[in-house]
Amino acid sequence: MKNSSKLGGMITLSLLCFLAAACIGSVAIPAKEALAVIAQRLFGISLLRDVEPLTQTIVWDLRLARASLAFLVGASLAVSGTVMQSVLRNPLASSYTLGVSSGASLGAALIIISGFSLPIVGAFTLPLAGLLTGLLTVYLAVAMASRVDKGFSGNTIVLTGMVFTLFVNALLTLVAYFFPNRTRHILLWQMGSFALKDWGTVRVLLPIAIVGLLFLMRYARELDMLTFGEEQAAVMGVETRRVKWILMFLAAALTGSAVSFAGVIGFIDLISPHVVRRWVGAAHRWVLPLSALFGGSFMVLADIVARTVISPTELPVGAITALLGGPFFLYVYFQKRRRY
């Protein structure tokens, strides 16, 4: 099967995940009613006459808003993981390795304990603080790596990132220790959830995800070359130092914005690139869009499970991604290699 056909198949699968998210929940909604609501809201076409207003609210304002956010978060994390693994030439690397989640958690924790709110951004103060502290942590880690290692090697960046992650985690522990009455709030934020999110959040995250993905697609060939090592990329004409900075910033911004709105959700960034590479090969012009679609769809499905498996109680979606993703990843990764 050609990669373009696989991309088409993955787009179809993603749309089916959205439909499933619209239909499945504490109130089951038939697919034709869900489709009618979607057609009405997106294209102004009336497919069915008598769809109740409550059904419309459940499908559009609750479930699809939530599924869209889950999709964007999953896609951002997956794409970010793809980029970090390739830039750092490390199959276990992700933005989390460089301290995005720790930094974002610390920023969020500081906002939670202080109750601080910026006048213009209001409710978005917490995600904004999370994003900025997450990016700052990555910047400091990468800048430090760049100073200590003139070659700017992936291993140095990973090691410095891990040191920064541990350092920031220690600060977070101290914050939690000195403010025990806020610990539960901080912990819940870290666990990750799409509950009580609306289209407003989607409208903020959508342009970030689209612009991030487009810019990364622009660097698809440079990413390909970096996977062969910095020296090989350089002799083929890539300004490796500058390109690595740009790619790591874009990846960290995608993860940072996803984490800021949905909390720390692991595993998607690790498994999506590996699964997609097994399927379509390693060329980033295919791996990037397919990782986005796979990561997004996987997150939508994980969220359906998180909110329905012991309904009405919701499970942390981060736990579900790891529980579902672990066995699935092992199955795909250790499957017999393709024969030629």
């Binding site: 390739s86 810019f215 697609m217 060939r221 002799v235 004409g237 390693a282 060329a283 012009r285």
Partner: protein, 261 residues
């Protein structure tokens, strides 16, 4: 084309290459020889612009360190020793990366017909066109070497730097590669610098040889002249010429005229 004048370079402010000077002209096939750790690879990296240096290192009249990466890559290609490959690129995609400089940049980079023709030609020449869809992670060392050679050629450089290019190749491909480099280097504005361990290959194909020892040039000149010099035995700590002659005697049948002796 390339001028090195009193070049020093190395790692972490320790000079591995010391006071090296030589010139490369159009059509040259220059062989760098020397014992392990003498600085051959370091020198190639400096020429490729991968290491900082002191002294004068000029490509077409311009100092290497003043050139941007794309300007350098348009003139100089380096095929280094095979490193570990983690990702399953196809043979075709790997060679296509060599066309990076020639391709259009943009949000959806496209591949031109010229790129496709170049890649196909290069893969046919290294006899890997049939394997073009194979992932490179499943290739042998020799096949991988040929993939990277094809990638170097499609880059269309003027100077090719080769770091032990025949390491994983069997005899047939070694000879074919050297023949190809000879033909390639004789076209206007081209030259080759290679690090070879095989003195026979160096003797057969290189026109000039530079012997490095402990980061310094100890001998340079026409191949036949340099390889006969007594200094070479000192550098390699082996009587090279006698070794080569005895190897040849062992493997070649005695000549007819020698039977009576």
């Amino acid at each position: 084309m390339l001028t090195l004048d009193q070049v020093y370079c190395g790692y972490d402010s320790e000079d591995v290459i010391r006071n090296v000077s030589f010139r490369v002209k159009e059509g040259d096939i220059l062989c760098l020889l020397g014992p392990n750790g003498c600085g051959k690879t370091t020198l190639l990296k400096a020429i490729a612009g991968l290491l900082p240096y002191k002294g004068y290192l000029r490509w077409l009249g311009q100092e290497i360190h003043t050139l941007k990466r794309n300007q350098l890559a348009a003139g100089i290609a380096l095929m280094s020793q095979i490193s570990e490959t983690y990702f399953e690129y196809s043979v075709y995609d790997t060679v296509m990366l060599g066309r990076y400089l020639h391709g259009k940049k943009g949000f959806l980079p496209s591949i031109s017909d010229e790129d496709r023709v170049m890649v196909r030609k290069a893969l046919e020449e290294v006899e890997l066109w049939r394997e073009r869809e194979h992932p490179i992670t499943q290739l042998s060392g020799g096949q991988l070497q040929r993939v990277f050679l094809a990638r170097t050629f499609v880059q269309e450089p003027k100077l090719i730097l080769l770091d032990e290019p025949t390491n994983h190749l069997d005899l047939k491909y070694q000879l074919e590669l050297m023949e190809r480099l000879s033909v390639w280097s004789k076209q206007p504005g081209r030259a080759v610098i290679g690090v070879f361990h095989d003195l026979n290959l160096a003797m057969q194909f290189a026109e000039k040889v530079i012997i490095l020892d402990q980061g310094q040039v100890v001998l340079q000149g026409p191949t036949g002249q340099v390889l006969q010099d007594s200094m070479i035995s000192k550098v390699f700590d082996v009587d090279v010429l006698n070794y080569m002659q005895s190897s040849l005697k062992k493997w070649l049948p005695p000549l007819e005229g020698n039977d009576s002796r």
